[in-house]
Symmetry: C2
Subunit: 414 residues, 2 copies
């Protein structure tokens, strides 16, 4: 039989799992103290729902579950690939949340401030830091169309990161509509905006000339490309300058308000910055989008945005929604690389017993020692010195014995 | 789009999830204090491993995942159902643990005392109390062949149940080898023992005559059936009487030792009873088996046993193993039916703000109130009396206001 986990999936050793449980615990602690409530949905969703969701590239990465019984037999007979499967493993927690809200909205408070932290699945080509099964850690506010929802999600997410021990991070923020408004004002066609945004997002890498070149290759109108180049040449990427180009003046005003409010709340503990090129991948975002970056690591450690149209697909009535997701795997990976030590709980003690010990007495002694220690009951080895070394390597801080009152302190955690 | 979860799977509302998190937290607390360590494995396992496991009926209930890309195209062309899938959702946590131990044994302590609590999947016909996705909550000891492992698992599991608030339960225990030894001594053929055990297990329901009738129908030797009937007529189901019929006298001795030791540890808080007909379903059990029953509920709330041959299938070398699984869904169901109230954490407070409020100040005020409350920030409704009623129904204990220092106590939890 095969002993390794499946490609792109992972077994977690006790120390790795302890770190994961610790990180999740600290995140949940912050979320819950702020009045957010945890829910849970099945790992599997109806295949039609998944197919119709705005998941972009993720739709190609769904693990599909085979039909069963007679339904499978007739699907095989049809020879049609689409027929073979009626459910799939979820690729994110946003589609299940939207379905959940539609199914249960009469039983839920409004606005609904919700926590989800659980596994999702994507059939990606496995590579470092990209797995086929991974944990997402989301908070969402459903039913609040004001930008207070964005402010609160940023505040709570930032406090969760601080609570884990992260600092020196920046919340980057944009409103997709600002970028689109600016590009529209310059003469780019509405239907080309997604494609133009993708190019514009590369500004840092390819520079203003590179952007102009790529847009020309994409056959954008010459006047529009020239207008954008002029704008870039001026180097005026301020919220005021971009907002002035948009028809809807409230966009820049609201984004400015969010930034100013978060700056007050952050009180210097973290930064917030307007990032005019930020778009983020998901097709379902409709307004503000945000992303947390750390100077010390490339890539984002958290991201989210507003998706006001998703829930309407289920209930035919728009429900405003904003979400912010902490990159749980990324956070755990960074902490592990840094050799992060989980703050001390009760120290680990091994209670050793000999073969002839009265095991009821051994376990009773363990019970009393548990007041001050996490106690593991173990058979005493013949070579006691070697056993001490092994136990020390396993993180035990002390050894006690079933047949006497000695306590030996090991050099663990030193 | 469809709003309901898939058949046999469940969305959990905030109050339901809070109960689940509470129960899991209390169980983990007991397990961890006893030196058990949590691990985690992927939801998906290789299809061949699943097929070769001794899962009994569960093998027919595996959700299989469709192959992808070229592999799928050629599988469809072959028209062979078995070819369509290369992985499946796990149906329990024991097969994944055995694979995990084989893959990681050099990095794990011995004996390895391990916690697993996570979702498993079975494509059952949905019915009350039987779901297609559910949580299992297991502890196992790998690498200890002595019956101290059984004693410790029973002690820890019973303490976990007491810690959740369960009492008045009985741990029923048997050794499969005792039952088989007795039946062999009576003249039943070795290859018929599984089938005879299934009939014997019905003793409570169909009585001694019913058992004799069914065994005769199964064409067991008349002398064997007569010997069993004589034995049953005597009504001597004591461990001594059954042990005396077995060739291996250590079986009854060890089981007696486990019962006596657990009785001492239980100290009257729960009961342990020899149950000569207990078999339990899984094909992989090799020795003692146990099951926890409550007088107040039919069916078991926990079960387990020794499975010394499973890990050997992966590494070609026998590793003794015992496991005990708490019926997490059953426990949560019973507590919910009883209207169990989760012990008080910080009381819930709503901090209400008006549309013109400075939201940075609102969130800053929430932060200070969080010292004593779980604080949810909410827009203040026009009809304040109605809002108080809604909040009280949602379990809020108090209301504070962004624009003044009033605190209104609600009748929640009264």
């Amino acid at each position: 039989m095969k002993t390794n986990p499946l490609k792109g999936m992972k077994d977690y050793l006790p120390a790795e799992q302890a770190l994961r449980d610790y990180v999740q615990g600290r995140i949940l602690e912050t979320y819950r103290a702020s009045g957010f409530e945890r829910i849970s949905t099945p790992m599997l969703e109806d295949m039609e729902n998944l197919d119709k969701s705005d998941g972009g590239d993720n739709l190609n990465l769904i693990f599909k579950v085979l039909k069963r019984g007679d339904k499978l037999a007739s699907a095989i007979a049809s020879g049609n690939e689409k027929d073979l499967s009626d459910m799939g493993l979820r690729y994110d927690l946003t589609l299940p949340l939207s379905r959940y809200y539609a199914a249960n909205k009469d039983k839920l408070p409004s606005p609904f401030k919700v926590i989800q932290t659980d596994r999702v699945f994507r059939a990606e080509r496995p590579q470092k830091g990209r797995m086929r099964e991974f944990v997402q850690c989301d908070i969402d506010i459903l039913g609040d169309g004001s930008c207070n929802a964005e402010i609160e999600l940023i505040d709570v997410t930032a406090r969760a990161l601080l609570n884990i021990g992260f600092d020196d991070f920046t919340v980057n923020i944009n409103d997709r509509r600002l970028l689109r408004g600016m590009l529209t004002s310059m003469g780019f066609a509405p239907e080309s905006l997604d494609s133009v945004c993708i190019t514009f997002d590369k500004l840092d890498k390819i520079g203003a000339e590179g952007v102009a070149k790529e847009l020309t290759e994409k056959e954008c109108p010459a006047e529009a490309v020239a207008a954008l180049s002029d704008f870039l040449a001026k180097g005026e990427f301020s919220l005021e300058a971009i907002g002035a180009l948009c028809e809807d003046k409230s966009l820049a005003e609201n984004l400015g308000k969010v930034i100013a409010t978060v700056e007050t709340l952050a009180n210097g503990k973290y930064k917030i910055a307007y990032c005019p090129s930020l778009v983020r991948g998901q097709g379902y975002y409709t307004g503000m989008v945000f992303e947390v970056t750390c100077a010390a690591f490339s890539g984002a450690v958290a991201g989210g945005g507003r998706y006001d149209n998703m829930i309407g697909k289920f209930i035919g009535q728009q429900v405003p929604a904003v979400g912010f997701s902490i990159g749980f795997e990324r956070i755990c990976g960074i902490l592990a690389e840094q050799g992060f030590a989980i703050p001390a709980q009760k120290p680990k003690m091994a209670l050793l017993y000999l073969p002839d010990a009265d095991f009821a007495q051994v376990l009773a002694k363990a019970a009393t020692l548990r007041e001050n220690y996490t106690v593991t009951v173990l058979p005493q080895a013949k070579k006691l010195g070697k056993q001490f070394g092994t136990l020390e390597n396993q993180g035990f801080a002390a050894v006690a014995f079933a047949d006497n009152d000695d306590v030996k302190t090991l050099g663990a955690n030193s």
